[in-house]
Amino acid sequence: MPEREDEWTGLMRLAVSGDDAAYHRLLKAVTPVLRAAARRGLARSGQPVDQSEDIVQDILLAVHLKRHTWDADAPFGPWLFAIARNKLIDALRRRGRRVFVNIDDFAETIPSEPVAETAPANEVAAQLQSLPVRQREVLQSIAVDSASIKDTATKFAMSEGAVRVALHRGLASLTARLRER
């Protein structure tokens, strides 16, 4: 699906140049594709497909924290699928299977809408509880209470810069904890 991937590449270029809305749109656009691939991977290794949401979140975090390794002159699709494949294999292995994931699993995936039988993700939320208090508060304020960086700064009497630092550190340590579990 080259048009779809061209659109992603365009959005990612905007995101890198500082367009937060484009980045938000990009992540929204790739999520159904990642979800469908995760479900397919789970199904193929004989595991319950409703566990896909934890894998999707795992992939999104890796995409976010490793996006500086994407070359803005290269198409975004192959980079995304390489990250996703890596995370999916990891997740399936952790669930006790050695698996082979084909790269085409992603490229040819039809986006799947959120379906009723998808269990809510709980791994990120669980690791969130183990973060240092400041990072956890900032993450919860932005993620759960939908507060902006500015509002979060006011709420905790912090500078916006300090909120940004806590937010990024929180996401990074969350990812590290998920990897080491």
Binding site: N86, I142, R179
Partner: protein
């Protein structure tokens, strides 16, 4: 946490800009280099006849080979720090130091030699070579792994092996200034074994440290 909430949080962090992997790797290596330098001067030091040795092309060739190894391994490891990268099309860079050595061996074969081939190959301090190169490379290997952790290598063990090769190349460049065996046969044998040892350590460490 809902996936939509996570996405909103990630978008809020979009302003954060990470440094390129090459920058972080360079910084880490620069920080570790003094440690290896101090180890080198404390335990070994430059050989006393270095001024005369410099006129021997086979002495100079050692630096060419070890630096070629370090630079090629740095280039390949940076390439592999992108998740979609494959080794194909890049592996030939690692053949450059081997090619330089092969040319050196061929040249030495064509020149009249005072010592028989096996004596030149075995040399006089192979044990020092095989101890010094791995030890001098350890601080650099740690730095290379820290630098490459910043990337997203799809094959962590391979990236770790390259971290080992690049640090062995840099360590061997130091060690070559002390080493009195200048025959390319010696270099091809003992430097290679030492590099392989460090590459194996790197692969082992990389398979744990470089997963993302």
């Amino acid at each position: 946490m809902e996936t939509d909430q996570l996405i909103r949080t990630l978008a809020a962090d979009n302003a954060h800009r990470a440094r390129p992997v090459g920058f972080v790797l360079a910084l880490a290596l620069l920080a570790a280099a003094p440690v290896s330098l101090v180890m080198f001067f404390a335990a070994l030091g430059v050989r006393p006849d270095v001024m005369t040795a410099m006129h021997n092309p086979f002495f100079d060739l050692k630096f060419l080979v070890t630096l070629a190894l370090a630079i090629s391994a740095i280039a390949v490891s940076l390439h592999l720090s992108r998740p979609e990268a494959v080794l194909r099309g890049w592996a030939w860079l690692l053949v450059i130091p081997i090619g330089l050595l092969a040319v050196g061996i061929a040249c030495e074969m064509m020149l009249p030699q005072r010592l028989p081939m096996m004596t030149r190959l075995v040399g006089s301090n192979s044990r020092v070579c095989m101890t010094a190169i791995p030890l001098l490379s350890l601080p650099l290997l740690a730095a290379a792994l820290i630098g490459l952790r910043h990337g997203a290598p799809n094959r962590p063990a391979l990236a770790g092996a390259l971290a080992g090769m690049l640090s062995a190349g840099l360590a061997a460049t130091l060690y070559a200034a002390q080493c009195t065996d200048d025959s390319p046969l010696f270099v091809a044998t003992w430097y290679t074994i030492a590099t392989a040892m460090v590459a194996a350590i790197g692969a082992l460490a990389g398979s744990r440290m470089l997963r993302f």
